[in-house]
Amino acid sequence: DAGVTQSPTHLIKTRGQQVTLRCSPKSGHDTVSWYQQALGQGPQFIFQYYEEEERQRGNFPDRFSGHQFPNYSSELNVNALLLGDSALYLCASSFEQEAFFGQGTRLTVV
C-alpha cells in the first residue's frame, strides 16, 4: 500500500499565478482533507471532499478551491497567489475515525 501520495513535493510560484496540488489517498479511503501549515504553526483545515463534493470548509477565501475525482484522488487549486500562501500543504485521507497524511507539498510564493 503506497499510503497517501502528494505531488509535487516542492513548488515555487510567482505572486498572482495559479497553482494545482494533487493528492492520491490511501487505498480504500474515500474522504480527502486539505490542510495549510505555515512555518512554525500547526496545520489549518482548508476543506474536505467526500463523494466528489466539498463536505466541510475552513476559514479560507474562495481563491482556494478543490476537486475530488471518481477514484477519490483530489486536487487543491489556489488562484491569485499571495506571498502569505507560502506554506506546507498537507493532504489527509481518512476512513472511519483515522486519518493518514501525505508528506505534503512545500509551496513558495515569490
Binding site: 483545515f45 466541510q56 506546507l88 483515522e98 486519518a99 508528506q103
Partner: protein
C-alpha cells in the same frame, strides 16, 4: 469553536528518560476524539496515539501513553524510554465525533522535542 493549546514550544529530554508534553483544549461537546501526531523532518504527520473522550481509560501505545483529564480538558503525552528517533514536532489535535464521516482536525501549535544522547 474548538481550540487546542500547546504551551511548550520546545522540550528537551535525554535518551532513555521520560518526558511529558502538555495539551489543553476547549470545547462544549461531550464526545470527541483527541490525538497526538508526530511530524519528523520528513514532514509527514504520523499518528502516535488516539483517545476517545467517552473512554475513561487512558490510551497506551508501547512507550507512549496519555493522561486524559476530561474535566480539566487536559490531554498530555508521556514518552517513556526516549529514543533519538523520537525527536520531532508533536501536535495535539481535536476532532468532534458529531455527524458521520471523518470530521476536521483542529491542531495546536506544536511542541518541538529534542532528544540528546
Amino acid at each position: 469553536a474548538q481550540t487546542v493549546t500547546q504551551s511548550q514550544p520546545e522540550m528537551s529530554v535525554q535518551e532513555a528518560e521520560t518526558v511529558t508534553l502538555s495539551c489543553t483544549y476547549d470545547t462544549s461537546e461531550s464526545d470527541y476524539y483527541l490525538f497526538w501526531y508526530k511530524q519528523p523532518p520528513s514532514r509527514q504527520m504520523i499518528l502516535v496515539i488516539r483517545q476517545e473522550a467517552y473512554k475513561q481509560q487512558n490510551a497506551t501505545e508501547n512507550r507512549f501513553s496519555v493522561n486524559f483529564q476530561k474535566a480539566a480538558k487536559s490531554f498530555s503525552l508521556k514518552i517513556s524510554d526516549s529514543q533519538l528517533g523520537d525527536a520531532a514536532m508533536y501536535f495535539c489535535a481535536y476532532k468532534t465525533s458529531e455527524n458521520t464521516g471523518f470530521q476536521k482536525l483542529v491542531f495546536g501549535t506544536g511542541t518541538r522535542l529534542l532528544v540528546s544522547p
